[in-house]
């Protein structure tokens, strides 16, 4: 059995990224993810990679753009206010169809907010905080193990579809320590293959005529017909992603459910504790936990509404963002209620249990 290491979430994701073959990392410190950049500053050079502390989150995402244009696995990380700064870069990366991994360890907002965990960036992540028609894959872990497992997944998805894969974590997962079992590190041969996987489009050394072909990394198309084609091609890609990459967890879903909860990340983990307690008392409550926030598991939520379900409860550490997607998924089939907490506060399993009991009647 593989070794389990007790690790802080922020460090686990960094270690996992290195094992997934990431050899370029550009970032700026920000609480609550400074442990991530510090880990990278120590371990990336040891892995033979490049670490640069950028002058800002803006510079960092643009360094990612440049390195990604050369076909390399590259990552940046930040927390909410810094991820706001990256939105321009994410739009450009998306328009140029480049692969990149962005980690957001979400904290309380808006504005400077605080440094406690929150889920207030759901809209920014899933509605595309930058300008224009684009999507990013959004992965939401709920444990340190899952956070770590999302590194190789994010890189693979980003490379496969040539788009941004954003890991939407939070300050709690980033800061807490749990045992983690890592996937094996890439071998030399695998790293070589990764380095060469994008040679059909990325910038790389050229040859003289007749094989001279220069590569252009770009999102500018002044002819609206050409830009329209570009964007429609992005859409085709996104349709494929929606078809193939939806991920979610069903917890205690059964035909006995009278209430179904929908929650992601830390909120889901807390809800599971409440559900376990309620089940002991004979109250059947199920949970759908989206793991991909985009593409959103709308059908899974709809399918989970068995005959006896009278209400759906969406639980989030924000004012109500994912609840919009839940309502869209259910199309009014069943009433959707909300339990939230803002400001970096986190509800307890007891509070969740009390809320579910309140709406049970």
């Amino acid at each position: 059995m593989a070794e389990k290491i007790l690790m802080k979430g922020n460090e686990a994701i960094a270690e996992a990224a290195l094992r997934a073959g990431c050899r370029l990392y550009f970032a700026y410190p920000i609480t609550p993810q400074s442990e991530l950049i510090e880990y990278m500053s120590r371990m990336m050079p040891k892995a033979g990679g490049t670490f640069v502390q950028a002058e800002s989150e803006v510079a960092a995402i643009n360094m990612v753009y440049g390195a990604s244009g050369c076909g390399k696995r590259v990552m940046t990380s930040s927390s909410s206010p810094g991820v706001s700064l990256k939105q321009e870069g994410i739009s450009y990366i998306s328009g140029a169809s480049l692969p990149a991994v962005v980690v957001n360890v979400v904290r309380g907002g808006p504005g400077l907010g605080d440094i406690q965990p929150a889920q207030g960036d759901y809209f920014q992540a899933t509605r595309g905080g930058g300008h224009g028609d684009y999507r990013t894959i959004v992965l939401a872990p709920s444990t340190v193990q899952e956070f770590a497992d999302m590194a190789p997944l994010a890189f693979d998805l980003a490379d496969k579809y040539r788009m941004v894969a954003l890991i939407l974590s939070d300050g709690l997962i980033g800061q807490m320590m749990e045992p983690v079992e890592f996937q094996p590190a890439k071998t030399e041969k695998e790293l070589e293959e990764l380095n060469n996987q994008h040679l059909d489009w990325c910038m790389h050394p050229n040859e003289d005529e007749p094989n001279h072909h220069h590569h252009i990394i770009n999102s500018l198309e002044l002819d609206p017909h050409v830009l329209s084609d570009l964007v429609l091609n992005l859409e085709k890609k996104y349709i494929e992603v929606e078809k193939n990459e939806i991920r979610f967890e069903e917890y205690n879903i059964s035909p006995d459910n009278e209430i179904v909860c929908v929650a992601f990340g830390t909120a889901a983990r807390i809800t599971k504790s409440a559900i376990d307690e309620l089940q002991k008392e004979g109250k059947s409550v199920g949970l759908i936990r989206p793991i991909t926030l985009w593409p959103f598991p709308a059908k899974a939520i709809d399918d989970a509404i068995h005959q006896k379900v009278r209400k759906v409860l969406t639980l989030e550490l924000n004012l109500g963002q994912m609840i919009d997607d839940v309502r869209l998924a259910l199309k009014g089939k069943v009433p959707v209620e909300f339990m939230g907490r803002v400001g970096g506060l986190v509800f307890t399993p007891e509070e969740v249990k009390a809320k579910i009991e309140e709406i049970f009647i």
Binding site: L24, F26, T50, V52, A54, E55, S56, V58, A59, A60, N62, M63, V64, Y65, G66, A67, S68, G69, C70, G71, K72, V74, E88, G89, Y92, A96, M203, H204, P205, N206, E207, D208, H212, H214, H215, I216, I217, N218, S219, L220
Partner: protein
């Protein structure tokens, strides 16, 4: 028939979309000639800005990346770090480099990134129709300084070359002029040097071109050269502000 002059191989045969009399054509050519002479065409990656030269990826015959406004030095950092076996240049105007991109250029220069930055200074924002730039001279009328730039309100033009030369890391920083044939010959020498040092991995190199914008200055091209000689050269002095090769040769 013998060919004694032709388009450098590092330029494509796409016709430039620059205005008649614009000096972008000259600076493009100097860079491309130097790339040919140094054999850099196949190992070069360029970063084009937002500005009149936003379409430079159509004109340079090497790998090119289009950057967001001001971000070219950050892209260049990522590119050179990802492919240290290749060479990188950026090509930027006043707004791109001296306004929105000020942080990026200072920090790329300060880190001593092994890139070459070409800075086209024509004291105005060309592409967007002639607004004030950080390099616009006091009293100069633009579409956003219609009463003339008032230095008591919004300060003086920025001398980027001198400013970057205060940093330790940069290897070569020069300001050249494109305002006369003699100046252009000297400018070519600076461009060649900057790219040669780049090829030899010596460090960060920077060339600022004192340029014209006939269209937005409202002057015919030849009058624009005269205006620039009279008004820009006294403020933006031609010179070499840093050249570490001189100290190194002395040793």
């Amino acid at each position: 028939m013998e060919i004694i002059a032709q388009r450098p191989k590092s330029l494509t045969d796409t016709q430039f979309s620059y205005c008649p009399g614009c000096t972008h054509g000259i600076s493009h050519r100097l860079i491309a000639e130097a790339m040919d002479e140094l054999g850099l065409r196949n190992s070069m990656m360029g970063v084009c800005p937002v500005g009149c030269s936003v379409l430079a990826y159509n004109f340079f015959d090497c790998d090119m990346a289009e950057a967001a406004h001001g971000r070219a030095p950050a892209l260049a950092t990522g590119m050179k770090r990802a492919r240290p076996d290749m060479h990188v240049f950026t090509y930027q105007g006043d707004g791109d480099l001296a306004a929105i991109g000020t942080a990026e250029i200072i920090h790329a220069a300060n880190r001593g990134e092994h890139i070459t930055v070409f800075f086209v200074n024509n004291a105005i924002y060309g592409m967007t129709g002639g607004q004030m730039a950080p390099t616009t001279l006091p009293g100069m009328k633009t579409t956003t300084s219609p009463y003339g730039r008032d230095e008591t309100d919004i300060g003086y033009p920025i001398r980027v070359s001198e400013m970057l030369a205060t940093l330790e890391a940069p290897y070569y920083i020069a300001r050249v002029s494109l305002l006369s044939p003699q100046d252009i010959i000297k400018a070519k020498k600076a461009v060649y040097k900057a790219l040669k040092f780049n090829k030899e991995e010596r460090g960060f190199t920077f060339v600022e071109f004192v340029s014209t914008c006939p269209t937005n200055w409202g002057l015919e091209p030849l009058k624009a050269f005269e205006w620039a000689k009279e008004n820009m050269l006294p403020f933006f002095k031609i010179g070499v502000f840093k050249d570490k090769s001189i100290e190194e040769e002395a040793k």
